[in-house]
Structure formats: structure tokens, C-alpha cells
Point group: C2
Chain length 253, copies 2
């Protein structure tokens, strides 16, 4: 199994506080020591960091804990390998370009028989179930829409595809095309909305507190999605099962 972390906001936002918790679970407070990765959207551009080292002991993770990258959408993953060897090519999040958009995908779970689904234009570089599922999903989208569809049309199409993939096993997933953070789960994902009045939050995994009122503006809205709650003094809600949740501009649509 693995752990997922997603964030999206209506203003470019620093994810270091939440990432500190996730990074600890990669070989520190959690067993997800088989690599980690994180992708940041900044406008149309993305940058991603991947490391097959455990995040709790990774130099690159340490840099990201110290260095404020502000982003509208972030997807991160710490891996505990089940299918596919430990190696860079099997480290989430995976990325592809479709319709001139950078797509990012991270998955927690296993999908029985996924590799029997034939692929056309997108092909895995590594050997995980997850990357195969991502490629299949993009193939279906490409077959349905010649160019980037409206957000509402994409929400519908992606929801159907996710429910289909969810019949094969555990399919907790975060993905984005740069406009929307999509979250789908059939086992477990939690989310949290941070908005005014902002308060203090304390991480579950290490002794780190932030008073968000000192680092935000009143209009900011931040949504965080995670496999398990990351803070102990905020209210985390379970995402509905079998439902694609679309989060745009800091708001659950």
C-alpha cells in the first residue's frame, strides 16, 4: 500500500507543512519506504521530484521541506511496493501530456487484471499496475475527446472511467490536468478545507505546528486530500466512496 497527498487552492500555496507529515511516513513514522514523488503545477507548467529513496531520509525531500514552492495543485505519493520493483520508473506520480496539458496521476491500491486491458497511444515506462491504469485511462479520454473538453464534461467522463477501474480492486487515486484536482476512492481518502477564520494546526507525525492565520489572506481557500489525516486539531472528513470528487479553485465542485 501507499499514501497519497493532494492539495489545491485558489492562490498559489506552500505545501511544506503537509509534505513534512507525508515525508515522515516514507520510512519514518510509516512503512512506505520504497520511493516517493511529488508534482507541482505552476500555471501551465509542472515540476516533479522523484526519488526511489525513502522520503524520511531523502536529501531531495529535505530540500522541499525547506524551500517554499508555491503551487495551485500538488500531488504527492509515498510508496510501499507491491507490484513492480523499487526503482525510479515505478515511482509515482506518473505524468503524461494529453491535449497540450500535463497530466499527473498517483494511485494507492492494486488492480487485478489491469494489464489485460489493451493500450493504444499511452504506454507504461515502468511495471506497476498504477501506470498501466493511468495509460488506459488517458487512451479512453483521447478516444472520447479530440481536444480538451469543458471541466464538466471531463468530470463526467473521468468519473465513469474511475468507477470502471474501481471494479478491479482498490483504486484510491489523485490526478490532475492542471485545472482540477481529481480524487477518487473506493477504500479510503480524507479531505480538509482550510479557510477563514484560519487557526493553528499540529501534525500527527512530528512536532510541527503552524498558525495559518499568519501565512494566509482572508480569501484563501485550500483543500487538502490525504490517505490518512495529517493533523490532529482539524476536522478531516472521509471522501465519499465510488465517487469522483473534483476540486477547482479551492472548492469541492
Amino acid at each position: 500500500m501507499c499514501e497519497l497527498l493532494g492539495m489545491t487552492a485558489n492562490v498559489p500555496t506552500d505545501i511544506r507543512f503537509s509534505f513534512a507529515a507525508l515525508a515522515q511516513r516514507g520510512g519514518g513514522t510509516g512503512p512506505h519506504r520504497d520511493g516517493w514523488g511529488i508534482a507541482f503545477y505552476e500555471g501551465r507548467g509542472t515540476r516533479a521530484f522523484h526519488d526511489p529513496q525513502p522520503s524520511a531520509h531523502s536529501e531531495i525531500a529535505r530540500l522541499l521541506r525547506d524551500y517554499p514552492l508555491k503551487s495551485e495543485i500538488v500531488i504527492a505519493h509515498v510508496r510501499r511496493a507491491n507490484r513492480g520493483r523499487v526503482g525510479l520508473e515505478n515511482t509515482h506520480p506518473f505524468t503524461r501530456e494529453l491535449w497540450g496539458r500535463a497530466w499527473t496521476f498517483a494511485h494507492n491500491g492494486q488492480l487485478k487484471g489491469i494489464k489485460k486491458r489493451r493500450l493504444k497511444l499511452f504506454h507504461p515506462i515502468g511495471t506497476t499496475d498504477s501506470e498501466h491504469a493511468f495509460c488506459w485511462l488517458l487512451d479512453q479520454l483521447r478516444a472520447s475527446f479530440a481536444t480538451l473538453p469543458s471541466p464538466a464534461a471531463l468530470d463526467r467522463a473521468l468519473g465513469q472511467l474511475c468507477r470502471d477501474l474501481g471494479t478491479l480492486g482498490i483504486f484510491n487515486v489523485l490526478m490532475s490536468e492542471g485545472r482540477t484536482l481529481y480524487a477518487f476512492c473506493n477504500k479510503q481518502l480524507y479531505y480538509l478545507v482550510r479557510q477563514a477564520p484560519f487557526g493553528v494546526a499540529t501534525l500527527v507525525d512530528e512536532d510541527l505546528r503552524v498558525d495559518f492565520s499568519t501565512v494566509t489572506s482572508p480569501g484563501d481557500r485550500v483543500v487538502v486530500v490525504a490517505s490518512n489525516p495529517l493533523t490532529r486539531d482539524e476536522i478531516w472528513s472521509e471522501l465519499p466512496l465510488q465517487t469522483l470528487t473534483a476540486i477547482r479553485n479551492g472548492t469541492v465542485v
Copy 2:
């Protein structure tokens, strides 16, 4: 204009010494202050670092100067923008997946009329000539070969495509699909082979020396390609113009 750096070797090799020189040229000893990027191949996997900040002052570049990532193929780029705004989406190297391989592409030059060439499956995320050229090139390859061709067949096809693109303007380029480092130039690229007996090298751009005999084994072969020589006590040769040079396992094919 921009500067390029490529490296490939027959064993996973640390590029920090050469990268230190290139990074200085991004806003330090050179004017290429409009972002930089670097991609590392490790087996089938890749990891890339991109930053719209000048590399001479970038925290991420500093990490990479300190942190030994060993790789078989590396492609790096410092940018001085001409077409396309300064931003993450316009920062080389660009990456795409084709035939289940991670492709990486970095370009120095401008290509007149490139955006009139129609694209089919691959589309730019940013607005540079370079990314459009990369997408066009991958479209042509995809149309010619349903699956990954042999290295020799790919060398030939890519050579033709590069000569065609070179008719549009300056086309100095480094690219890879993970097996081969390809270099094409119609203006200027230099290369260097490091092999036994290894000696001492001193950077042009800063006071940094390495005695390669202390960090290599006798069978190691490393090829470095750069827009301008990076060291002052080694022999750099110009790559032939209008010719695609393929470098595999530390050997110019």
C-alpha cells in the same frame, strides 16, 4: 540563445563537475538566466528538475551540485528566452513518453515557421518553438514505427528529421530515449571523451578541479557534449554539422 550539456557513460556516472560549470552560465558567468532544467536517466526511469530561476542562484541547482546522482544519460539546459515567456512550462528539457520510453529533448536556437507544422498526437504545453519541434518530431517517429525500432533504424530516422528541422534555423539539440544520447547541431556543439588514462580537469567558469583518476575505474568511458567547452585542460572537439551523432555506452557510434 541557450546552452546545452549532455553526458553519457558506460557506467552510472556523477555529472556534478560539469553541471557546476553549466549552472554558473545561468546568470553567473553567462547570461542564460531565464530558467534551467536537467533530466537524469536511471535505467528505464528518469527524473528531471526544472526551475524558472537562474541556475547560478537556484536552491535546486545548489542541491544538485552537492548531491551525487549517478546516471547513464543526462541532458541539461540553461535558457535565455527568445520565443515563449519565462516560466516553468517553457523550461527545457521537455519530456514525453513514446513506445513506453521516456524521451527527453533540449534545444538551442530558433526555428522559423515551425508552428505551421501540424501536430497530431503530441502537443506543446508551453509556447516555445523548441517544444513544438519536439512534438512534431515524435509525431513523425510514431507514424513511422508502431513500436520502438532498433537503435540503427532510429538513428537513421532521427537523422533525417533533424536535418529537415535544421532547414528552419538554428537547431542545436540534445535528446534521448534512454538508450542513446543524440546530439545534432547546425551551428555549434563540442564534445569530449573521458577514458583511461584519466587526468585532472579544471572548469573554465569557476575554480574547481577534479582528478578523474581518483573517481573512475579503468574501463569507464564518459562522453560530454556542451555548447561551449567546460574545462580548460582537456581537448574538446567540434561535433560535425548537419549530422546526427549517436552516443551509446560511452562510445560515439
